[in-house]
């Protein structure tokens, strides 16, 4: 009985313990599975789940035909893990120091721009202090020390193998890339450049900046459960957000034409030694910029070549007084609206004309000439008189219809819209000055666009420098923005103004240097005084702009020389030969057949020369006749006066009068 009782007690105890034990387990299980489920599940997930940020590559820039202009050069960054180096050296300070010194020396020997002492200092910095939100300072292990950045890929692979051989601890290589400009200075001011800030490209200027959004890659991520070796467990859950590379940009630029323009611009700089120079080649039918160059420029691969002067994009950012290259716009509008005809005679006042209390001069003394000659001889007075004839309102309409005061629509930022005062702010002098390119500031792009309008028959077209953007199969072509209606009401206006502009490159014109064998070249010179500190200076913008072949233009080309210091300062002499050189090579590149045979072209030119000679002879004879007539009148008047005073004969005194008259005329 006693035995049974003690057994019963023991069994009861065991039973209670078991029940208690199971109860506790159940309680703990409840706590783990129900109460703290979320917290613990998150902890566990954090332990075995890895999240990796994936980065795409920035879009590249190509020319129209797919030649690479800006690319991504694969490189590697070398980073060290100071805390790990210390731990892997069993926390032995002496051993750690030795290894860090070896690593630093190794990379100084093998990489450029690496300082061993600086690397050693970084690698020895095993921890750093941080301050949390509550202001408490915390000591944290340092796992990241930059050893070298932008190491070329092939070189980095060699270094990685050597590092393995030498068994350096805590050194890793991470893939990266940097922007590379394989054509060096070519198109540098248009392409722009980027800086790098914390692995992110920061666009600075040019296409890199204006199309940054399209070129920027979209980062993705990958979340997966990992095994002990760090690899993903294939049969476990994983999710990923795709990475998208940036769009590749295809410009309207043709690399061969760009090379031609740049080469000729360099030659011009050698010839006339200007402060700056630029040229732009545009297709007038669709506004495509085929080439655009400027000097000085810089090499984006070598930032030491950058100066504020060389890195500015003058083509879109500079607003300058254009000078005489504005004249065709005014004359064409006057022809179109019937204010004048090519034969209308305008008195150019022999080079000096007073209007609104101010004198206006011509470079050459021009008398009474038809409108055609105003463009050919680039008469300021003739153009101003036509402009005054049109009136301020019509002049304003004319210039605005050619796009002055508006942006050209090109995909470049920033772009100036120039300085063109609204009509209500014009003064009495404006009507005689805006028409000859004074008091109005325009950008080279605006000028090129306006000449495109003359060349294409008056259709306003936006300039395009980006043809299309592509990402795999996703191709987006930038539309051509062109007005359906011409600004010319008269269909013959284009021919009339083109014929006048052809005269500029023919005998008697202001730029015979721009004539091209076998072609009619329509152009206009411009020599504009530079405004420095609010006043006109003795420095000039010498420009020549034109289109070839004149009747069916394949391109519009503007060449400008900012302050030529050697040789002539005139647009015809400074920029004309460069225009010719570029245009000739461009026509050859485009395989444009000459309009005239060599013989026909020479015959045409000699006929023009002969006509000019005959006209000059006629004019000289006319001037001589007038001079003689005036002398005769003068003599007669003097004789009359002398007869009144002395009653003596006047025959002995004509020589003195004649001398005086000729002095005045000279």
């Amino acid at each position: 009985m006693t035995l049974f009782r003690s057994m019963a007690i023991r069994m009861a105890l065991v039973y209670i313990l078991l029940v208690g034990g199971f109860g506790y387990v159940a309680y703990a299980l409840y706590g783990v599975q129900i109460t703290r489920h979320d917290e613990l599940f998150e902890k566990a997930q954090h332990t075995y789940t890895t999240r990796i940020e994936t980065h795409g590559t920035r879009g590249e820039i190509y020319d129209f035909g797919g030649s690479l202009l800006v690319g991504n050069m694969p490189t590697m960054d070398v980073v060290g893990d100071p805390a790990n180096i210390y731990i892997l050296n069993k926390k032995d300070v002496e051993k750690t120091e030795t290894e860090c010194r070896m690593i630093a020396d190794f990379f100084e020997r093998n990489c450029e721009n690496v300082n061993a002492d600086e690397i050693f200092r970084r690698l020895m910095r095993r921890s750093f202090t941080t301050t949390d939100k509550n202001g408490e300072k915390k000591e944290q292990d340092c796992h990241y020390a930059v050893i070298a950045t932008g190491v070329e890929y092939e070189k980095a692979k060699e270094l990685r193998n050597k590092v393995k051989e030498l068994s350096f601890h805590g050194v890793s290589f991470t893939s990266s890339y940097r922007r590379k400009y394989p054509k060096n200075t070519m198109l540098a001011n248009i392409l722009g450049l980027t800086n790098v800030s914390y692995d992110t490209f920061v666009p600075v200027q040019g296409i890199e900046r204006s199309l940054n959004e399209a070129m920027t890659a979209t980062s993705g991520s990958m979340v997966y459960e990992r095994a002990r070796n760090g690899r993903s467990v294939t049969f476990a859950n994983s999710r990923s957000e795709p990475t998208l590379d940036g769009y590749d940009i295809f410009l309207t630029i043709r690399e061969p034409l760009q090379a031609i323009v740049e080469e000729e611009l360099d030659l011009m700089c050698e010839r006339v030694k200007p402060h700056a120079a630029w040229a732009i080649l545009v297709d007038p039918t669709n506004g495509d910029v085929l080439a655009a160059a400027q000097r000085p420029t810089f090499n984006p691969n070598d930032r030491n070549t950058m100066t504020p002067d060389s890195s500015t994009n003058r083509l879109s950012e500079l607003a300058l007084e254009p000078g005489s290259i504005m004249k065709p716009f005014v004359i064409s509008y006057a022809l179109d609206r019937g204010f004048v005809t090519p034969g209308t005679m305008v008195d150019c006042e022999q080079g000096v004309w007073k209007y609104a209390g101010r004198l206006l001069h011509d470079t050459h003394n021009v008398g009474k000439v038809p409108v055609t000659e105003i463009i050919k001889q680039s008469s300021n007075i003739g153009t101003a008189k036509v402009s005054v004839m049109m009136g301020a309102k019509n002049l304003d309409t004319a210039l605005r219809s050619f796009g002055f005061g508006q942006k050209t629509g090109i995909q470049l930022k920033p772009e100036t819209s120039g300085i063109f005062r609204p009509l209500e702010k014009w003064d009495s002098l404006s009507v005689s000055r805006f028409c000859i390119g004074q008091g109005i500031a325009v950008s080279p792009l605006q000028l090129a666009r306006a000449y495109c309008m003359i060349a294409n028959g008056g259709y306003k077209v936006n300039l395009r420098i980006v043809d299309r953007i592509e990402r795999g199969d996703d191709v987006r072509v930038m539309p051509v923005v062109k007005d359906e209606k011409s600004i010319f009401a008269n269909p013959t206006t284009k021919k009339m103004i083109t014929d006048m502009m052809i005269g500029v490159t023919e005998a008697g014109g202001t730029c015979t240097e721009a004539a091209i064998e076998g072609f009619h070249v329509a152009g206009k010179t411009g020599t504009a005084q530079k405004v420095i500190n609010g006043a006109y200076s003795n420095r000039y913008y010498a420009s020549f702009v034109g289109f070839v072949p004149a009747e069916n233009p394949r391109f519009v080309l503007l060449v400008t020389c900012d302050d030529p210091t050697v040789g002539s300062r005139y647009g015809g002499s400074a920029s004309g030969p460069t225009f010719k050189a570029i245009a000739e090579r461009t026509l050859k590149y485009m395989h444009v057949q000459p309009q005239l045979s060599k013989e026909a072209w020479l015959a045409e030119r000699s006929a023009a020369q002969k006509a000019l000679h005959e006209r000059k002879v006629r004019e000289d004879a006319l001037v001589q006749a007038r001079r003689e007539e005036r002398d005769r009148q003068l003599k007669a008047e003097k004789a009359k006066e002398s007869a009144k005073k002395t009653g003596t004969a006047v025959a002995s005194r004509p020589a003195t009068t004649g001398t005086k008259t000729s002095t005045i005329r000279r």
Binding site: G65, P74, K180, P182, K183, T185, T234, R585, H591
Partner: protein, 148 residues
């Protein structure tokens, strides 16, 4: 011999129980063995499959890494190619080797007019851009004196 297999003495009514009980037991054992075999087979198949998947995943990672390396090499080569094709470089070579090169005269160029029904050149010839092919065709049509 156990309870199920041992031979039992004939019953009093003369019927023999042993030979009828044996197939039932054997069947049970066979069925259990079969089930166990299926379970183990499924288990090992799953393990084998996982192992295979892991192997393939490793292989995939290796190939992806190889592709990445090749792409990187291609990118590097593309940059080098663009550099070599730059006019600066070409011009320097022309001068270095004193090559008597000159631009072609337009009169030396003849455009072939496309015959009716002729298949257009693939756009891949023009960097995938059909407009260049079209413009070449238009240019050919517009050119006077071209070979017809």
């Amino acid at each position: 011999m156990n309870h199920f297999t041992k031979k039992t003495s004939p019953s009093k009514d003369g019927t023999a129980a042993g030979p009828q009980e044996t197939p039932w037991v054997a069947g049970l054992i066979f069925k259990m063995a079969l089930i166990m075999m299926i379970i183990f087979s499924a288990f090992f198949a799953r393990v084998h499959l996982n192992d295979k998947t892991e192997q393939l995943a490793r292989e995939k990672t290796r190939i992806i890494e190889q592709i990445r390396e090749k792409r990187t090499e291609i990118q590097t080569l593309n940059i080098q190619l663009a550099n070599l094709r730059s006019w600066d470089n070409v011009n320097a070579k022309i001068r270095q080797y004193n090559l008597a090169l000159r631009a072609v005269n337009p009169s030396q160029v003849r455009h072939m007019k496309r015959f009716e029904g002729e298949v257009a050149a693939p756009s891949s010839l023009y960097g995938g851009d059909t407009r260049i092919a079209d413009s070449a065709a238009n240019s050919a049509q517009n050119t006077a004196g071209g070979i017809q």
